[in-house]
Symmetry: C2
DNA sequence: GTGAAAGCGCTAACAT
DNA sequence: ATGTTAGCGCTTTCAC
């Protein structure tokens, strides 16, 4: 070993006068090493500032203790709490994380990406790309080829794949029901882009809640946005024309709700007096909108944690019982009631 | 090779009737292979669906073509645009990315983290943890030990380390100067936490701009927040007491500015009539606050891209010229003028 | 243009 | 409790 190169297991073994295997046992905390030997080896490891090569280990064990995380649209993702949950939980369970971002939501060529992960011997894959258009169609053709467990976030239920998702339908029903409970009858909806699965779920929740209350949802009561504040403004202006009697609106996310509040403010529409508003997401700032926004809080940290926890379990169980049933876990979001939807005293 | 295990370079070589080295040359696009041989081998690679093991490659090349990215407080990081820039640029330059998140901003035990990256043979490290308190003190003791290039984001200038950062001081001066240009004289400041280097830079920019205008900044004109909307509200309320003549406020970020606007709205303070407000960050939503918020836009995508581009260059140059001068790159933010600070017509 | 030998740093399986 | 052998899948170096 020269001065500049890091020591290997071999140097440690030589200095300690043992075989590499014994050193290996020590660094892997195996029980079958004599206490004295262990002490001696540990001392030498310390002196040499030896650190085992994870690469070599991955090669010989044929696994890396890494997960592959695939995302898309990170820059739009609001506070990246899902990511944070994933990162924290992975760390806790002693897995490393490879991060990849798709260049666009509708990536067509999935295979190179999967292969990139597989070439690095990841133990599992987290698919954190929203379900949009046909961007899940590859699954049915390729899911069998993937030799590691894979978990999907934010996804419609499907055969043979494991999913962890927020219950968007439930959240939307809750939001709409809350507005009905406030005595509102003319409840509009600003949806996200309709090619997003999440948007469709939220739309459906709004529709079903209305129907259950004996109100038939009509086309003119809905306007489509693209999640941005800007699009929310346009959608709201459209609703004002197609649905002038509107006395409440359920917005597909908080950012679009923000521009409803803003438009209302400049046009002297009283919120909640003339118009009650409910958002979706539960951004921390939503409590500081004017007025404070009633919203559906989705716990994305928990979403991330659950995904990783589940994936880790899949990895471990796989050793014992190869092909288990896929899981389908939904996380219920919570209604947070604030000023924007509550009666004026 | 059994049916279930993936083919190795050896299987390809055997099927093609060549040695493994020849296959290696093909998969690495080396020129010294006969065209016919190359064709034949490529065909077999395709048939076998062979994919080289990045792990084995890393081991034998002693490098991984991965970067290590260390972050902290992902969940508060607003839209994770820096991350997005980093991910996109890494992908573009053909580097993989390990993502780690510190459990807290003031992590004390840095060495295990560094070793984790080094054990995986990363080619370079991106330190995307904000500079807070003494959380950079480890650098002077350990920077020499790190055997790979490392680049710091958002950091004060230092000897011997490479840095890419937004010019916070410049941005704050710009913001304050803009308010002065509008004829405001009583300009308060809501700062971020004072143990953050960024906060101190912004404070300093505000101070220097005032001084240059012949106004002496006083303690009572500043209130400290913690970046959250909630803290911004409290800070603003404090300023209303300590600095009642205030006719403008420069907020350390947009989220705190939001709650200034909100408080002003409920207390019937006219913005910008009675109070001009400028934020910092340039969140997309800030255009939809009421009124639309004047702010300092920091291009964090570019920040991330620049960091990766620089790091990649450091990696490549290292082969040629071992110890180059460290770089110090600042990115100038831009003033975006909107309703919240412009004169009422 | 191609191949043989040696090695990257570690661990699994089987001795002893 | 410890050592030996034989890989893991690829690249580097040198020979031809």
């Amino acid at each position: 070993m020269t001065k500049n190169s890091k020591p290997t297991i071999y140097e440690v073994a030589r200095k300690a006068g043992v075989s590499r295997q014994t050193v290996s046992r020590v660094i892997n905390n195996r029980p079958d090493v004599a206490p004295a030997t262990r002490q001696r080896i540990m001392k030498i490891i310390d002196e040499l500032d030896y650190h085992p090569s994870a690469i070599a280990r991955s090669l010989s064990q044929q696994r890396s203790y890494n997960f592959g995380l695939l995302t898309a649209g990170l820059e739009y993702m609001g506070p990246s709490t899902t990511l944070s949950g994933i990162a924290k939980k992975s760390e806790e369970l002693n897995y490393g994380l490879y991060l990849k971002e798709l260049p666009s939501f509708n990536a067509n060529n999935i295979h190179p990406l999967l292969e990139w992960f597989l070439a690095r011997q990841v133990d599992g894959i987290i698919w954190a790309v929203p379900e949009i258009g046909a961007n899940r169609d590859w699954i049915k053709d390729s899911i069998e080829d993937i030799r590691v467990p894979i978990i999907f976030l934010t996804s419609a239920k499907r055969e043979k794949i494991s999913i962890v998702t927020i219950d968007n339908y439930f959240g939307a029903r809750q939001a709409t029901q809350h507005l009905l409970d406030q005595g509102r009858k003319q409840i509009g909806h600003i949806s996200g882009p309709m090619d997003w699965w999440e948007s469709r779920q939220r739309l459906k929740g709004w529709q079903d809640a209305l129907r259950e209350a004996g109100i038939e949802p009509e086309e003119r009561m809905v306007a489509e946005g693209n999640w941005s504040s800007k699009s929310g403004k346009q959608a709201f202006e459209k609703l004002q024309i197609t649905f002038p009697e509107m006395d409440a609106v359920f917005s597909g996310n908080d950012q679009m709700a923000l521009s409803i509040l803003q438009t209302a403010c400049t046009e002297n529409i009283k919120v909640p007096g003339d118009l009650a508003v409910v958002g979706f997401d539960g951004l921390p700032e939503s409590a500081y909108f004017s007025p404070a926004l009633t919203t559906i809080f989705q716990n994305t940290i928990e979403l991330g944690c659950t995904a990783v926890r589940t994936l880790a379990r899949m990895v471990e169980e796989r050793d014992i019982e190869p092909s288990r049933e896929p899981v389908y876990i939904t996380i219920k979001p919570d209604l947070i009631i604030r000023r924007s939807s509550t009666p004026v005293e």
